[in-house]
């Protein structure tokens, strides 16, 4: 009998029920502003609370909300899925704010809320530093403010921001990530600086959710072609809730065209797919393939080190306890459920994990 694999869940989403949850973590000015301006909540359009996908039906509370307490996470995810470590990726809409001072203040409050209300309450938890993405200076400052707490293992941006993430203006953020042993997490979702698709605004939630895949493609192309991945070869980028199966076909096109016009980007001096295989990881929830095709898609990735397991709690990606996408071969599970995450997150190295156990 083999030992069960203790899982590392790289994508769970704590959700503040309202801005009131964050005001204790704001300074007096901003705490009062929330009240005086009558601001209630910052639920993002990317995940409408009422949408079935945003919170699985049996994970909703009596008010139809969910994911607002650590007890729910323990009961619905950590315990039933035998999770050893879970990484909290808050998607609360602080990155959507257009006032950059408010954005920075609310983002700090969100990160401190995560630290106090979640990390301090369960040793299994780690978290991303949500980045205020108005300016690189602000993002770096937030990394510097929190990096001393090694339970923060990643810096987090949305896939649809203001400018493509590979652009040189963001490199100080990547430099800070490398310096502190943080991965760069990029999660589905938009800051609504632009339409969610390159052809314009979507009409339906369905379109918008599916459009994240385009944004991941463009972001990945930006990170490769701008030379960001080459400039920071030890940086690991984790694409979260990106879906998986689009990747091989996209890399095929990117690489094929690169062979002809690589003189545009001479710093991309090896095959783009190799760069991506070395430095980019994807959460495997959602996976986006029928079970009988999963193995073929995995073969196309040409790597068994790229996928990281995630429950995506409380998003509704699966029913019951079918948290591993069906069709994934048994032989991949040790890496998918645990090994790949340990290899990806410097702060989840086995030594760090033991430190966490002892804490």
């Amino acid at each position: 009998m083999t030992m069960p694999i203790r899982r590392i869940d790289v994508d769970v989403h704590p959700m503040p029920t309202s801005l009131k949850a964050l005001t204790p973590y704001m300074d007096a000015f901003w705490a009062d502003q929330v009240v005086e301006r009558g601001m209630t909540t910052l639920d993002s359009q990317s995940w409408p609370i009422g949408s079935p996908k945003t919170i699985r039906a049996d994970w909703r509370d009596a008010k139809g909300r969910g994911a607002s307490t650590v007890e729910e996470l323990q009961r619905q995810c950590l315990d039933p899925f035998d999770v050893e470590i879970a990484i909290l990726n808050p998607l609360y809409g602080v990155q959507l704010l257009f006032n950059e001072d408010m954005c920075a203040a609310f983002t700090r409050a969100l990160n401190d809320w995560v630290r106090t209300e979640w990390l301090d309450r369960d040793d299994r938890l780690r978290a991303s530093i949500v980045l205020p993405m108005h300016t690189p200076e602000q993002a770096v400052a937030e990394i510097e403010r929190l990096a001393g707490d090694r339970r923060f293992v990643q810096a987090l941006a949305l896939v649809m921001g203001e400018v493509p993430l590979g652009r040189r203006q963001w490199w100080p953020v990547f430099e800070a990530c490398v310096k502190h042993g943080l991965t760069l997490g990029i999660h589905a979702g938009s800051a609504y600086r632009h339409p969610q698709t390159s052809v314009g605004w979507t009409t339906w939630y369905l379109e918008e959710y599916a459009a994240n895949q385009q944004a991941f493609q463009s972001t990945l192309a930006s990170l490769v072609t701008e030379g960001a991945l080459g400039k920071f070869p030890s940086l690991k980028v984790v694409m979260l809730e990106s879906g998986v199966t689009w990747l091989p076909a996209f890399l095929w096109r990117l690489q094929k065209v690169w062979k002809g016009v690589r003189f545009e980007v001479p710093w991309v001096d090896r095959l783009p797919a190799e760069i991506v295989r070395d430095q980019v990881r994807l959460s495997a929830q959602p996976f986006d393939a029928p079970p009988d095709q999963a193995k073929r898609i995995l073969d196309h990735l040409r790597s068994d080190e790229m996928l990281l397991w995630a429950s995506d709690w409380p998003h509704w990606q699966f029913d019951g306890d079918a948290a591993i996408p069906p069709g994934i071969p048994e032989s991949l599970l040790p890496k998918l459920l645990r090994g790949n995450a340990l290899a990806t997150y410097p702060r989840l190295s086995p030594q760090e994990a033991r430190k966490g156990d002892a804490a």
Binding site: R262, P266, D269
Partner: protein
């Protein structure tokens, strides 16, 4: 291995090129890089584009993003179809030099006197003793 007279040296000046029929439908393109002659198959190994119709350029590399190191001007040939670039001196592709190469043929200059002593195949030029000719071992 048939030896082909590609033409008088004067016909392929530095930076120039010439397409040569090598028999059995084979075509070879001869380049002159600063007085050195190089002969490549005119068939791109990708999908068969005619390299003779491609653009010649230099080789750009980069120590880091935003920095362009431009060298060996005119020594790369780009297939006109998909812009794959090949080193005229070696026939090797830039992006996968080990596996993707254009077939290269030895090319050198012979005097007319030596050529007249022959034997050469596909010789279509009235060879003059006092001239120099580019010869390809095809």
């Amino acid at each position: 291995m048939p030896r082909i007279v590609a033409g008088p040296v004067a016909e392929i000046p530095p930076g120039g090129r010439k397409l040569v029929e090598a028999g059995e439908g084979r075509r070879i393109v001869v380049f002159n890089l600063d007085g050195d002659f190089f002969a490549l198959s005119d068939r791109c190994p990708h999908q068969g584009g005619s390299l003779c119709r491609g653009a010649q350029s230099g080789h750009v590399s980069s120590p880091e993003p935003g920095v362009y190191t431009y060298e060996r001007r005119g020594e790369m040939i780009r297939c006109p179809w998909h812009y794959w670039e090949f080193d005229i001196r070696t026939g090797k592709s830039w992006f996968d030099p080990r596996r993707v190469q254009v077939r290269q043929f030895p090319a050198h200059v012979e005097t007319g006197a030596a050529l007249i002593e022959g034997p050469y195949q596909a010789e279509t030029y009235p060879v003059r003793v006092e001239d120099a000719y580019v010869v390809v071992d095809a």
